[in-house]
């Protein structure tokens, strides 16, 4: 099957004759065979695209349609054009959610990727129990996000949390981590990093192993230090993988939802009394399913989409420069 897909154009004429000729010599049969050859690949890939259309494209379009209305959940719907968008752009709460999302993304993702890169590099060396460590750093990924968030939220508990207990050894007053933006952001960022650093490290490690050894050999013959080899060979060769990792982290970071919700401890989606850690995804759910304003939430969802695109473009322009021009 894969062969058929790859069959170059000139060979096409020969293909059907050989396979269908003996079985079905008639004209119609040949037409059918050709149709079969041309249509089958599309037919075989169609389930994915059909599902994508139903569960991907349709909701996307429908959300856009809803966002043009004053659309109350199980209530009235009136067309209002772009009112939701203009209102949203002037809404301080929305921009607060954007700031939180970007803030958490920055303090979570940058240390995470640097750490992942260092981990991958360490695991790429010949060390004792390599397999153990490689599996070990991937282990957090198999735990559920909610479980991670619940455990971390308890660690960050005000009265009985382990982190406050540890800080109290140094005379630090008990911190109510949910109360300020900075503390909540840090707490949430640690949850994200604990779960995803290993995942990114493994992907980077896999990419590192595809780098030809002779490059390093040549470099050491020329007297390049290990550090120089890392920056001049490893990092540039990792560029495509780094771009992938950065994209996935951007999408994940900007749609952050489960961790802050669990961190809050109740499903009001408010992200703290003044929205100290309300992310855009929480903002959307709050508008749609707590205040029942579907139109407004849909508009916010589209703005989030735009935000992610912008975020990816910015990151792409950064990661493109890694290792200079290629």
């Amino acid at each position: 099957m894969t062969l058929n897909v790859d069959t170059p154009a000139p060979a096409r004429r020969e293909g059907p004759r050989r396979s269908s000729g003996p079985r079905n010599p008639g004209r119609g049969g040949r037409g059918l065979a050709r149709f079969d050859l041309r249509a089958t690949p599309y037919f075989l890939v169609s389930p994915y695209f059909l599902l994508f259309a139903v569960f991907g494209l349709f909701p996307l379009g429908y959300t856009a349609w809803v966002s043009l209305h004053d659309w109350e959940l199980a209530g009235d719907k009136t067309f209002t054009g772009l009112d939701n968008y203009t209102e949203l752009i002037a809404d301080g709460a929305f921009w607060n959610a954007v700031l939180n999302t970007v803030g958490i993304f920055v303090i979570a993702t940058i240390p995470q990727l640097v750490l992942a890169l260092m981990l991958a590099n360490a695991l790429n060396k010949r060390i004792r129990g390599r397999l153990f460590f490689r599996l070990g750093i991937l282990l957090p990924l198999v735990t559920s996000v909610v479980a991670v968030a619940v455990v971390f939220t308890q660690l960050y508990g005000r009265d009985y949390g382990m982190i406050n207990w540890f800080l109290s050894l140094f005379g630090v007053e008990a911190i109510e981590w949910q109360n300020q933006s900075w503390s909540a952001w840090i707490a949430i960022a640690t949850m994200i990093d604990w779960r995803w650093t290993g995942y990114n490290a493994i992907i980077l490690l896999a990419a590192m192993q595809t780098i030809p050894k002779d490059l390093y050999e040549a470099a050491s013959l020329d007297g390049a230090s290990a550090r120089r080899q890392f920056w001049q060979i490893t990092v540039p060769m990792l560029r495509p993988t780094l771009i992938f990792v950065v994209f996935v982290s951007t999408i994940g970071g900007l749609t952050l939802f489960a961790e802050p919700v669990m961190f809050e401890g109740n499903p009001t989606m408010a992200g703290g009394a003044t929205g100290q850690y309300q992310t855009v995804a929480m903002f959307i759910v709050k508008e749609a399913f707590r205040d029942f304003d579907m139109g407004y939430a849909s508009a916010a969802a589209w703005l989030l989409f735009a935000l992610i695109l912008i975020g990816i473009l910015i990151n792409y322009s950064f990661t493109r420069r890694i290792g200079g021009k290629k």
């Binding site: 099957m1 894969t2 897909v5 790859d6 075989l44 890939v45 389930p47 994915y48 599902l51 959940l73 199980a74 209530g75 709460a93 009265d159 008990a174 109510e176 949910q178 109360n179 300020q180 401890g265 109740n266 499903p267 009001t268 989606m269 408010a270 703290g272 009394a273 003044t274 100290q276 399913f289 707590r290 205040d291 029942f292």
Partner: protein, 450 residues
């Protein structure tokens, strides 16, 4: 060339894998709807199953016994009673609205908190008219306000009342004893005729518990706020956040301001444990004795006994509340129009909101009957609550609901309540300065109403 070919192959494999995944996931999800659809297909032969979905912490609606009895007596109409969640405004209500909008998924009988009745009254298309099943004749069973609230904007009866709140103050006997305060419920009631006296008692309690890990006098902002609002509302036109024309009056209603100021004064005095109600921490503190008092409508007794567990039997008690009568909470049952067995559901609803159902719920969850015949029944009037040191709860709540006037709650009451109380929680925990809290409070409420 080689490279692109390999990529092509890879892509093809990836697509195939995705297809396979999609197909298998399709296949595996297929049996579920068949298994879930216990309605139409089996209706003719097998007995009808009526599902009842409710909400609430602890013992919630308290229908376990009532349902057991019904099922034993009615082999042809079997009731499946399920409490979905602790939380009404931000879990049960949005889910219910989505199911109503979708036209499927809602239970045959659903519980609705008084806070969302305005919202439901404005959506008559989603509920069955109970009048067609003869339930109009139940009018004499309910106080006028409770009955009127179950009539929608088309003038059709769509919901019947379950319980009514009333108001008392729950307190921890053991903690009171340790702090040198009286422990007997009559004396405790005399200790605080009004909120100023309650504050004095609180300061005395806190002076005896100065340590960081020591219990606090009050749980947090939410319960106190709702108690005071329920007392002040009737003095100010019987409204809360909305006037009877559904106009937002959160900044104008003196009842709201008084309730806010009361919470603020107790929070500033350091008498609260800074716990938001209906959260796991709050439940844990009820159990462990993290605070000594909290405002208790009748149904709250079921929440307390459920959260505290049997091992804490006798530690909690009930006394009269400072500041007089009020009503917080109380619920209704309705039948969604999407139900395939409305007639049978109406029979069950009639039973659950009837005298027998009300009495069973009161015994199980301390939910005080709104039904007048049930209130007058000796089974209610003379009932003592074992968990609360055999407190004569029938008598206590009977007295507290006597001249009760439930508040008018607007269409968006639930949203405004959630948003406004969130600010109270922030103020209590210190993320909103006391000086800015009232402005923030009004802002949040206005935004939620808009």
């Amino acid at each position: 060339m080689l490279n692109t070919k390999r990529q092509g192959k890879l892509a093809a494999v990836a697509v195939m894998a995705a297809t396979a995944l999609a197909i298998t996931s399709c296949g595996s999800s297929e049996p579920t709807p068949a298994a879930g659809g216990d309605g139409a297909s089996s209706a003719a032969a097998a007995p009808v199953t009526i599902t009842v979905h409710t909400f609430g912490g602890g013992e919630n609606f308290g229908y376990d016994e009532a349902v057991k009895k019904w099922n034993a007596e009615h082999p042809n109409i079997q009731v499946k009673y399920q409490n979905l969640t602790d939380r009404f405004e931000d879990v049960f209500l949005p889910q219910l609205l989505q199911k109503l909008q979708a036209g499927s998924g809602a239970a045959d009988i659903v519980g609705i908190d008084e806070g969302a009745m305005g919202l439901m009254k404005a959506r008559p298309q989603f509920f069955a008219d109970l009048g067609q099943f003869g339930l109009e004749n139940r009018k004499a069973d309910f106080p006028a306000a409770k009955w009127e609230n179950g009539v929608n904007k088309d003038g059709k009866l769509f919901a019947l009342g379950t319980d009514i709140g009333g108001m008392t103050m729950c307190y921890r006997k053991d903690l009171f004893e340790k702090a040198g305060l009286p422990t007997e419920r009559e004396e405790v009631g005399k200790l605080w005729p009004d909120w100023a006296a309650f504050m004095e008692a609180g300061k005395k309690f806190q002076a005896a518990n100065p340590g960081k890990g020591d219990p606090k006098f009050l749980d947090g902002p939410n319960t106190l706020y709702n108690v005071v609002l329920s007392q002040e509302g009737p003095k100010n036109g019987n409204i809360a956040y909305f006037d009877t024309n559904n106009q937002l009056v959160i900044d104008k209603n003196p009842a709201v301001k008084t309730a806010f100021d009361t919470v603020k004064s107790f929070s500033e005095a350091g008498l609260t444990a800074k716990l938001a109600s209906f959260t796991p921490e709050w439940n844990a503190a009820i159990k462990k004795g993290g605070f000594a008092t909290m405002g208790c409508p009748a149904w709250m007794l079921g929440v307390v006994s459920g959260a505290a567990g049997d091992e804490n039997k006798g530690k909690w008690d009930v006394a009269s509340v400072p500041g007089g009568a009020g009503n917080w909470g109380g619920s209704y049952l309705a039948i969604p129009a999407q139900s395939k067995h409305q007639k049978e559901a109406a029979e069950v609803l009639n039973y659950l909101t009837g005298k027998e159902g009300h009495i069973a719920a009161f015994k199980e969850a301390a939910a005080f009957p709104s039904s007048l015949p049930a209130q007058q029944d000796p089974a209610v009037a003379d009932l003592k609550n074992e968990f609360f040191n055999d407190a004569p709860t029938g008598q206590i709540f009977g007295a507290s609901v006597k001249d009760l006037l439930p508040l008018f709650l607007g269409e968006k009451h639930a949203q405004v309540k959630t948003a406004a109380e969130k600010v109270l929680e922030g103020m209590d925990k210190g993320s909103i300065p006391y000086a800015e809290a009232w402005t923030k409070f009004v802002e949040a409420g206005t935004k939620a109403a808009g």
